[in-house]
Symmetry: C2
Subunit: 204 residues, 2 copies
Amino acid sequence: MVDPTRVPEPGSLLVGTDGVLTGRTSEYVKHLGDMGGVYRDREAYESALAELGPDHVVYRVDEHRVADGPGALTIGTSTLLPGRIGDEYAVTRGHLHAIPDRAELYHCLSGSGLLLLETIDGRSEALELAPGKAVHVPGHWVHRSVNTGDEPLVTLFCYNTDAGQDYSLIEQAGGMASLVVPDADSGWTLRRNTDHTGYAGSTA
Amino acid sequence: MVDPTRVPEPGSLLVGTDGVLTGRTSEYVKHLGDMGGVYRDREAYESALAELGPDHVVYRVDEHRVADGPGALTIGTSTLLPGRIGDEYAVTRGHLHAIPDRAELYHCLSGSGLLLLETIDGRSEALELAPGKAVHVPGHWVHRSVNTGDEPLVTLFCYNTDAGQDYSLIEQAGGMASLVVPDADSGWTLRRNTDHTGYAGSTA
């Protein structure tokens, strides 16, 4: 029997295509100064840092959580601003869930870009995001958002609150295996990240 | 170590505001003939059945699933057509998750209506759905969609695949405690369902 006084209120949310989640319970911002080591072109990163300052916003996240425990969901919006560091399009840090079998939904509300997905054994996918497109990220996929457009890339996400985020896996691997860079014909293309040393735990 | 051959491919989905989920792995339709006992006005239900036929569509669900297990999500769209049976606006059957602590997201893509939510101990909420509005349903809430408008009510949903649906709880309780009926001023209002006998397991 669940204690009825411990059943939280449902949340009524307004999901803005500008990424503002009215009714959120928490929010955070990642600034350029937080992104050390994320982009492969160190010189371009240092130069952007000098030009734009460490408080320049890279992405914002609004979240709604009402419970813990295995059945609880975190619902939120991610707003990744456009830009490039060297040849690399703007990215979120990216993560594998700390409980790796946890899946995630990304539903694009505005802007354009892609979700870059890699398994620790070397599989790779780049799935486009545009308004109305969504990506179902199964468990065991490292994933990050990439903004290849000129507008903020806004996604609605949903995942199990207990999933957690392992950000160190990508860092220890020298970044994700693929970089998303401009291409004259198709707008963007994937380039092999020569710093990538493989993910810890890989059997490949 | 996860077996890498068992990690499913990510899903690239197109989420139509018309409720069509391109890329779905399954779908189902609930027809008027499936809705026996759901609406309280039996005479109005029988009359609608005679007029529209048992194959008249009440709602459609498109779903995308790629895995089982505790971390897996089911992502889908629900399209609830407009209509009334007697005084009651069109509803989905409604359910409590079979694993009751599992939460769910409903994000409205088009149409207008509400999510009706009740705990087994007698708490009740009616939260409006309109494009851009979303409802975070925590675990332990019985919930159903209600279409109070003239257009299909389309929502994107996301929940843990292992959650399951208990449809019998509402049936055995004589329906949900509240009915959603027209109101001249505000469009809709809640009316007490006199058939409702309380939910099994209630300590209230």
